[in-house]
């Protein structure tokens, strides 16, 4: 496996982590009703979207690198 492929796998797993972190923050918010948890959840979802967009752009732009 090349570094390019490993990087794409890593970014995919990072997106899964942001989804998990957002779900964790939502659970904490339901329990404690603290605004910081809601903000954490939103930031995590935004990070996940950002990482997914980055991953797609990286895959497109580095097709010729191997």
């Amino acid at each position: 496996m090349s570094l390019r492929a490993f990087h794409l796998l890593f970014i995919a797993l990072s997106v899964v982590l942001t989804a998990f972190f957002a779900a964790w923050a939502a659970g904490q918010y339901q329990r404690a009703h603290e605004m910081s948890y809601a903000l954490t959840g939103v930031a995590s979802v935004a990070s996940g979207i950002g990482l997914a967009v980055y991953g797609a752009a990286f895959q497109r732009k580095t097709k010729k690198l191997s």
Binding site: M1, L3, F6, H7, F10, I11, L13, F21, S47, L65
Partner: protein, 194 residues
Amino acid sequence: MNIPYTVEERPDSGLANGKLGIWLFLASEVMLFGALFSTYIILRTGATEWPHGELSVPLGALNTVLLISSSVTMVMAWAMLKLHNWGRHRLYLLATFALAGIFLVNKYFEYSDHLARGEGPSHSTFLAIYFTLTGLHGLHIVGGMVVMAYLLGPGAKLWKQNPDQFTNRIEYTGLYWHFVDLVWIFLFPVLYLL
């Protein structure tokens, strides 16, 4: 005497020696961390109660952001060599080194905060496995930094003599670095969130 297959692929394995070597090494690392993760699962499932909220989630999340960013800068350092942009390569590799350094500084503050409160590895089963897993991971971060320092310093000379071999070395360092980052991607939810 020249070492063969540092750049070209071996006909039998289809890989250059370095790539085969780094994947064999990473396979052994999977077994090492896999054993420790298994230990964690056995300890946790066997415990009558397990502490929650002992670790700083914001600090752990910040370290996660640092390591994900460092994987981006690492792959960019490699991509810049492929595009023959030496200056940008140096910048990205230096950024990776700096992000790793900030990660370790955060870890130092986290450790010293626990130790100041008398919460060392012998305090509880949770802290014992926490210090073992994150300590070993931290040592891997230090190892990666040593390699990066070499490639930024004396090892950089190889670029002028054999650019393809140097590019391969950066790729192997990148593979190792991504593995270290991947371990953290599992450590963060397991230790800080669950």
